[in-house]
Each structure stands twice: as structure tokens, then as C-alpha cells.
């Protein structure tokens, strides 16, 4: 989700003819001071981080003169706000604001179409506006083929109480935001908040937020978001290879490489609730099942890693292909930390055969590799664990134990566990599996 920093978004806005305040981006207090001198008016200094609500976090300061501007920049650059280190500040002319509005275009999941949002109030988050001033807020659901027309924006502007003399200029701004920004740049979200009416009657985009669809970046190769320059080696590598890699806490002890995302997110829940920490969330699913080995090499560069969990329940992907790729990578890399591999789903039988064979190899090599699969009883090899009902939870439990953390279930209060339902599930499995014609289930039944 390339989220552009404010100054980057404003560069695009200006290019597309949307008016923004005069300003420049500074990396040092000295630069900030000299920019303020050049602007020659009171300025505002704003931290450039990929997050909203910067003002409330103390990341926006006003300066009457260049010295103050330098001082303000010194207080901001290098500090951390909302979890992001500040590398740059935007130095802009301070606007003489008469009135603030809000305009934005979002992706309306329910309507499956773009939605244009307009309010005659601005400067606070849109959620707050809609709650506090519902009568001053309008939403236009736009037909993606027809696109937004100016009259729709005009009507909405009137409805929310924007003064008559401003209706045309606000509507034009909304129109440009939709066509020249949202549509042209494949935005997932764009917003001008506040859109300022200055005392000399100009409409200026005092802030600019723009987030571009990752999957559409191939149409916008000219844009290289600054946030991507700060990616670490692992994030860069994953981006190059094209797989999902979310670094949650680089200093944490467990890496989870899953297939697919739903399983990975469930693992994240159980680990977090047990008091463990996931260093990263990685989905090798879908397009990338052949890259499992590469993924392993990458996560092993995490500094405090104590275990790696491959948790695979394959559909579109193939468990046997992933098992083969992971085992080859393990033999090549010879990781010093324990690895747990769970492989089920499409290609399961092949995957189990591979794991049986390779676990002997791993043992000879002195590596700690444990494994399981849905139809594994735990007797297949000394390093195998029973699957069945436990095939999702056991890998999580074992990986935590291998890190020295005792596994316990600890779901949120609003979602208590139901041990009686779990008990019933197990009873049913014990009863029904022996009836099955498939030998693997008959065998598994003895262990459920």
C-alpha cells in the first residue's frame, strides 16, 4: 500500500493543477530555516510520516520567523511520532484560514464503487465529522464507468451548506480530485483535509493524503514512494520477489511463513494471546508457492529469531511442492534454530512422504526440524506430531515451547473459548473416523 507522504502527494496534486500552499521539504533545521526565509511569511512545520493525526501527536508546529522555524524543525527531525521516525519536515506558508472543508474519495466496499465524500467542516478526521455534523456531510456513490460529474459535486456541496459563491470552485476541486488523482493514479484513498478557504478567497489543499493501490503500481512506475526507501533488506527482498512480507517486530522470536493468509493471521492471534511475539507475517501462498525456500533464507536474517514455523494448508498451492522447497532450503542453509513444518491440503500425501524421508536426513545432520500434517498420527518419525483436530494448534504450541514460552489459550473477553464444543468435535472424530474407507483416517482415529 504505497502511502505517499504529504509532500509527495502535494507534488502530484500541484502537477495535476490542485492548489497547495507554497512550501518545501527540509531534512535539517538549517534547511527549514532557510526555506522559511525564502517564504518570507509565518510558516507551519509538519512532520512527514506515513500516518494521519500528526497534529494531535504534536508533529505540527507554527513559526513566526525563520529562527523559530529552525528551532521547531530541530524539535521534530529525528524524533519518533506514532511509531515512525521523522526524516523530513514540510515547511509551508501559514495560511490565513477563513473556513475549513473536507473532500475525499474512498473505496466503498459495500457499494463496490468509489465514494466521494464532502463536508462543510474540515480539519478533523472524517469519522468525527460524520458523527458530530451529519447534516454537514454528503456521500456520492459514483458509477465507475460514468465517473463523477461536476453537477453531482455541486449538488453535494450545496447540500452540506457550502456557501453559494464557493460551490463552483469546491465542485471543481472535487472533480479534479476524483479524475486527476483518484482515477488517474489508481488511488485506494485520497483526501484533502482541510481544504482551506483563505481570507483572500482562495481554495487551497492545506493537507493532502494519497495512497496508491499496490497492485496498480505497474501503471505508475514514475512514482517511487519515499516510504519504500526506508524498507529494510528483508522488506526490499520480499518486494523484489513479490511475496507478502509484513515485519511486525524485527526483534521478536518467531517467524511465521504461512499459506495462506487466513492461517497466518490465526497463528498470529494464538501466538500473541499466548504472550509470544511474531517477528513477521509472511504469506507464500497463491502465486509464490515455489519460493518457500527463499523465504526461509530471508527470515533467518532476523536478529533474535528462535524458531521458524511453516504453516501450510494448501488449496491453490501444493503442499508437496512447498515441502520439497522448504526441505531443500533447510539442507542448504542448515539453520541453527528449530523449524516446524506443517503441510496439509492439496498434495498432502506427497508432502507427508517427503517429510518422512527428509526428517531422517535432518536428524543425521543434527538439525531440529519437527513436522506434522492433517493425516499424520505422530508415529511416522521421531520428529512428527499428531495432526487431525490439532493440526492448526500443535505447531503454534510447539514453536512457542521451542522458544521457551509456555503455550496457553487466552482469547479476548468478548470471545470466550468453548471447551465443550471442542470436546464434541474430538468425540465426533473418534466416532466417525474408524468408519471411513480411507486407511489414513482409520489410523488417525486411534490417536484423536
Amino acid at each position: 500500500m504505497p502511502y505517499l507522504l504529504e509532500y509527495e502527494a502535494k507534488q502530484i496534486f500541484r502537477k495535476e493543477g490542485l492548489t497547495t500552499p507554497e512550501g518545501e521539504v527540509a531534512e535539517t533545521p538549517e534547511q527549514a530555516k532557510s526555506f522559511a526565509e525564502r517564504i518570507g511569511k509565518p510558516v507551519v512545520i509538519k512532520i512527514q510520516i506515513p500516518a494521519g493525526r500528526r497534529g494531535r501527536a504534536g508533529g505540527v508546529k507554527f513559526a513566526e520567523n525563520p529562527d523559530e522555524a529552525g528551532k521547531a524543525a530541530r524539535e521534530l527531525i529525528g524524533k519518533e511520532f506514532l511509531g515512525h521516525k521523522v526524516n523530513k519536515v514540510l515547511v509551508e506558508e501559514k495560511l490565513d484560514i477563513k473556513k475549513e472543508f473536507y473532500i475525499g474519495v474512498v473505496n466503498d466496499r459495500a457499494a463496490k464503487s468509489p465514494a466521494v465524500l464532502i463536508s462543510s467542516e474540515g480539519g478533523m478526521e472524517i469519522e468525527e465529522i460524520t458523527q458530530k455534523f451529519p447534516e454537514k456531510f454528503a456521500k456520492i456513490n459514483v458509477d465507475i464507468f460514468k465517473g463523477l460529474q461536476v453537477f453531482q459535486a455541486r449538488n453535494a456541496a450545496r447540500k452540506v451548506g457550502i456557501p453559494t459563491e464557493l460551490i463552483n470552485s469546491v465542485a471543481n476541486m472535487v472533480y479534479n480530485l476524483y479524475w486527476r488523482i483518484y482515477r488517474k493514479y489508481d488511488a485506494t484513498f485520497t483526501e484533502i483535509n482541510p481544504l482551506c478557504l483563505t481570507s483572500d478567497g482562495k481554495l487551497i489543499a492545506a493537507d493532502a493524503r494519497l495512497s496508491i493501490d499496490d497492485d496498480a503500481m505497474f501503471r505508475h512506475k514514475e512514482i517511487i514512494p519515499e516510504t519504500e526507501k526506508y524498507l529494510n533488506e528483508r522488506e526490499k527482498h520480499a518486494k523484489e520477489k513479490g511475496y507478502v512480507y509484513v515485519e511486525l517486530d524485527p526483534n521478536a522470536e518467531i517467524a511465521c511463513i504461512s499459506n495462506g493468509a487466513g492461517l497466518g493471521m490465526s497463528v498470529m492471534d494464538y501466538v500473541n494471546e499466548a504472550g509470544g511475539r511474531l517477528a513477521c507475517f509472511m504469506d507464500v501462498g497463491g502465486r509464490f508457492y515455489e519460493l518457500a525456500g527463499d523465504a526461509l533464507k530471508m527470515v533467518l536474517t532476523l536478529p533474535n529469531l528462535k524458531a521458524v514455523l511453516f504453516h501450510v494448508y494448501a488449496g491453490l498451492t501444493r503442499a508437496n511442492v512447498i515441502a520439497k522447497g522448504v526441505c531443500e532450503a533447510i539442507k542448504e542453509v542448515k539453520p541453527k534454530i528449530p523449524i516446524f513444518i506443517q503441510v496439509s491440503g492439496t498434495g498432502e500425501k506427497g508432502a507427508i512422504e517427503i517429510m518422512k524421508k527428509e526428517s531422517e536426513e535432518f536428524k543425521k545432520m543434527g538439525l531440529t526440524v519437527e513436522w506434522c500434517s492433517h493425516t499424520v498420527t505422530g508415529e511416522e518419525s521421531p520428529s512428527s506430531h499428531k495432526g487431525g483436530v490439532d493440526v492448526i494448534e500443535t505447531p503454534v504450541k510447539r514453536v512457542l515451547e521451542l522458544c521457551g514460552i509456555k503455550y496457553k489459550r487466552n482469547p479476548p473477553k468478548w470471545l470466550p473459548e468453548h471447551p465443550e464444543w471442542e470436546k464434541t468435535t474430538r468425540e465426533i472424530m473418534r466416532k466417525t473416523l474408524p468408519l471411513r474407507p480411507e486407511p489414513e483416517y482409520k489410523e488417525l482415529a486411534k490417536y484423536e
Binding site: D213, A216, L248, A314, W414, H418, W421, T425, L435, R436
Partner: protein
């Protein structure tokens, strides 16, 4: 009867000559899915596992007017064109597998589909399966047994294969599993899917597996609350410890301006749905609904294509 993938399904495979398209065509055929044509522009006249390949959907439909469903194995960047081609050719069911379609493209696809009365499932899905009669896409066939009574609707494959497998082995069987996908814009979302299952006489209860992001699960809860969905619904919603602002694997899985699990769980509970905390609670929850198991299912072998490659 079942949903989307039925005994009446006659399918065309887009991208049939590609590696994945061909492999999955073979698996679908072995499962019993009726596939009468494939399309790869520039490769007309070839055959893939006995299925004739055409240069265009139009040609394929002309030669096989019985086609009513398209399964699309086409790269994300080409999906819009390929989808429009299907819709223009008059095919009324479209399954889009690709992950990574720009979502404004998806908006155009679903808008056009809606105008022309086409049911679209996906994008970013493994597919739809109605055991043992029809598999569309790239499902984990061995996780399913049927004809069954439980409808499964899911954003994800992984955890869902596990849940579906337990339901199948437990003797209730699955009527249809529909993976609606992990994108923010979906051809069929939870509310529409629930209504499809509500009308299906074979389905007695629905299991929905959802995630963070958006409000589809909440809109589903509204349908239940309004009485438009009367059959029992069991839900599992994952990513309850997700950090805000991080996109976790699925393009749609992000907490921004709402979309957290707690609100979804509470809305579903309030509407009368059963929410399970762990996927392994599923059979206990189903049993509590008083739905009877199907004794024949315990004895009949589970169907699966033999090829694993």
C-alpha cells in the same frame, strides 16, 4: 441443488494452456466437472486433456452454447479484459482466481457484471466446490465430502480447508464451499453469498470465515437480524490481534477506519449467529444446531483427483 457450482454447470476455462490452467483443468475434469472448452488467445485449435482450445470466448460459446460458467486462470493484469470478454459473450457465472488485480479494475468488472446479470466470485480466490459433483478453480478437493448440508463461505483457503474437512469427516458434509476471496472489492461478498445459500434447499446452515477489514461481516449480521437469512450461521473471524494499519496478506485485510474483529463478532452475536473462537470448535457448534449427520457419508470414499504433479 447447490450454489454456483452445480450439476448443471458447464464450464469454459480461460487461460487453459498455461501451467496452472492446464494442471487445474486436469484436476477439475478428474473430479467430474464438466469442462467443454478452453480459451487462450493465439492458441486456438490445440487441445488440453481432450478439451478443445479456442482463440476467443465468443468462438467457444458459439461452438458450445451450453457453456454457462467461466473459470479464469489469467494473470491479474489481464483479468479485466478477460472478464469483460466473458461478460460480453453472455456467460452468466464467472470465477476469477487471480490475486493482485488493481481494485479499480475489479470495480469495473463487478459493475459490468451486475449490469449484465452475471454472478462473479472472486477475485483472489481458490474457487468453489460442491462435493462430489463439481469443482471450479483450485480447491483442496480432499477436504470435502458430500453431497452435504453445510454451506461454507470464506475469505481464505487455509483455515477454511481445515474447517471444511472437519465438517466433511464429521458426517454433515459440505453443500458448497465458496471462497469469496481476500480482496477489498469482491464479486460476491458475504451478504450476497448468504442469500444464495438461504435459497438453496440442500444447505441447512452456513459457516462463514471472515477477517479484518471492511464491514462485510457486519452487513451479513444485518441480514440475519432483519430475518432475510433465517438458516443458522456459525462464524469464525480471524486476525483479532492484528495491529492497525498493517495489511496482512490479503489486500482487504487491514484495520483502517474500522474493520476490527471485535465489532464484527459483536454484530454477529447480536444478530443471533454463533461465533466460534477456535476453528476446532466447529463440530460442537454444528451439533448444537440439531442438524442430523448423513450416515452414507461415513462409508463412501472421499473424491479426489489423483494427480499431484
Amino acid at each position: 441443488m447447490t450454489v454456483f457450482a452445480t450439476e448443471k454447470t458447464v464450464a469454459l476455462v480461460q487461460g487453459i494452456t498455461g501451467k496452472e490452467g492446464a494442471f487445474r483443468t486436469k484436476r477439475m475434469l478428474e473430479y467430474g466437472t464438466k469442462i467443454v472448452a478452453g480459451v487462450t488467445p493465439g492458441k486456438g485449435g490445440q487441445e488440453v486433456y481432450g478439451v478443445p482450445v479456442y482463440d476467443s470466448v465468443e468462438e467457444a460459446v458459439k461452438a458450445h452454447p451450453e457453456i454457462n460458467t467461466a473459470v479464469q486462470f489469467v494473470p491479474a493484469r489481464l483479468a479485466k479484459d478477460a472478464s469483460f470478454e466473458v461478460i460480453e459473450a453472455g456467460i452468466k457465472n464467472l470465477l476469477i482466481i487471480a490475486e493482485g488485480i488493481p481494485f479499480q479494475d475489479t470495480m469495473e468488472i463487478v459493475t459490468m457484471g451486475k449490469e449484465k446479470g452475471v454472478t462473479i466470485v472472486g477475485p483472489n480466490t481458490s474457487g468453489v466446490i460442491s462435493p462430489p459433483i463439481c469443482e471450479l478453480g483450485a480447491c483442496c478437493q480432499s477436504a470435502f465430502h458430500g453431497p452435504g448440508k453445510i454451506g461454507v463461505i470464506s475469505t481464505t483457503g487455509s483455515v477454511q480447508w481445515y474447517v471444511s474437512r472437519l465438517i466433511s469427516l464429521g458426517g454433515w458434509g459440505v453443500s458448497t464451499m465458496m471462497q469469496i476471496g481476500g480482496d477489498p472489492i469482491r464479486g460476491t461478498d458475504f451478504p450476497e453469498a448468504l442469500l444464495m445459500y438461504e435459497k438453496d434447499p440442500q444447505t441447512e446452515a452456513m459457516v462463514i470465515i471472515g477477517e479484518i477489514g471492511g464491514d462485510s461481516e457486519i452487513r451479513a449480521a444485518d441480514l440475519i437480524e432483519r430475518g432475510e437469512v433465517k438458516k443458522p450461521v456459525i462464524a469464525y473471524i480471524y486476525a483479532r490481534t492484528a495491529p492497525p494499519g498493517k495489511r496482512l496478506g490479503h489486500a482487504g485485510a487491514i484495520i483502517e477506519r474500522g474493520g476490527g474483529v471485535e465489532a464484527k463478532v459483536k454484530a454477529l452475536q447480536k444478530a443471533g449467529a454463533i461465533v466460534i473462537t477456535y476453528p476446532w470448535e466447529i463440530l460442537g457448534a454444528i451439533k448444537e444446531l440439531g442438524i442430523k449427520t448423513i450416515p452414507e457419508l461415513f462409508k463412501t470414499p472421499i473424491k479426489e483427483s489423483k494427480i499431484e504433479e
